[in-house]
Amino acid sequence: MRRQLPLVMTFIAGIIPVIALFSPHPIVVNIAARADRWLVIVYAFALLLGVVSVVQSNSRKIARRDKGWPYAVVLLTGLTVMGGFGFLGNFGIFGGITTTPDGRPTPFQWSYSNVFLPLQATMFSLLAFYMASASFRAFRARNLAAGLLMVSALFVMFGRIPTGEAVPFVPMITEWIMDNPNAAAQRGIIIGAALGAASMSLRVILGIERSHLGLGRGE
């Protein structure tokens, strides 16, 4: 029972979308639509699992005065304040989570735009720097494969900017690389990966692959 029930439920849930692709019958369509609705809700519940873990581990850090514990205080403060605004927003306290009727941001929205967003965007923008250092180090023509990698990267980098476009043939070659060898390889990888994913999916539905359930594998 303990081992079988999760696997049986996996199987039953797994064949719904398979049938739904081939059956237009309203009963099937309705079951699939309900399943879609259910699982969005189940997923929303899962967030609390993470919250519990974060609160536990950070309060432990503070209680034990672990190295860097003040940062745990910062984290929990951020979580409590933002989470508080957000949760209370459900009941209309602090004006909800978007804007107040007169168009001004609620505290939740304000923190989102002035704390969350700048942090997120700046973290993301670090990539511009990392791309430069990675390409300086990795794009060396050590052998044929590495050479091709470098040459196509340089062409595309150059061909996508106005300066490169002004050079005869460069935009054409860039476009050609993207449309031909690139599209071919992408397509090969997509088809291969999709087959692999489909086979993996089938293994999961059949209960052969089950390590994500902590049930070990195999027979």
Binding site: A32, A33, D36, R37, L39, V40, Y112, S113, L117, Q120, A121, F124, A128, F129, M131, A132, S133, S135, F136, R137, F139, R140, A141, R142, M150, A153, L154, M157, F158, R160, I161, P162, T163, G164, E165, A166, P171, E175, M178, D179, N182, A183, Q186, R187, I190
Partner: protein
Amino acid sequence: MHLVDRLLATDRRIIYLLVGLGALIPLLIPIGLPVTVTPPVRSAFEKIESLPAGSVVVISFDYGPSTAPENDPQAGAVMRHCFARGIRVVGMALYPLGGLSVAVEEINKVAAEFPVTYGVDYVNLGYKDGAQAAMRRMNEDLHELFPRDASGRPIGELLLMQEVRSLKDTDLVFSFATGIIGEWWINLVNAQFGTPVAVGSTAVGTPKYYAYLKAGQAVGLLGGLKGASEYERLLSDHYPDVARIYESPLLYTATQGMDIQTIVHLVIIALVLAGNILYFTSRIMRRSSPGGRRA
């Protein structure tokens, strides 16, 4: 250590500094370089040119503020094109991480530039989570999926939505996507329901969308800021009124961003070339030095 080896092991921070300066300087002192249009952008443009006035285009904001510098100018350009042609726009947001806020901001900004009325010429249906499930239901009934618009009005009250019951009543979906949602529009909505789909992708996502474009599963593609600047070019050439909007100094345009792109790209290209010259120099030196590789 020899100079060449020392240069090969250049501290990352010097590279970071070069990139930072390369971006900062053109931001302070604008340059103004020319733009040429590529076929994927042209086909997206022509798709909208081919739609008669009064058609309905779904603009899906499938990105968040994190890729807004790229996707905003794309969505802005396509919406300006629609409004300039009298095409009606149904906006929605399927991206969980702030799709709604970019949709609200961008739609309001662009709509303010044209003589269009909310509810008649455009609507903003707001955010729906579970993008795949939402898409499946959209083909059946938009009204059930989005009972209220972004500002909480029942969509049944909106004139435009009284005509648009489901995705079947629309002529094109234009998804501005930061990740996989644009692909879902293609391999779910286009593949299963047949609605034409065009995509504005981030530069990083573009190569994957090329495969779909070639396969005819997407009718057009705007790749990153570059694609947006090309679209701005086409718009400015065809619609003088839109050109005037783009000339306003207060608007951050993709065309402006492209100047900075150019400089940073050239910095990176120079770095790669320098890296290779140094690498081969050091190889030649090692081969010629008696100590061999271990020296």
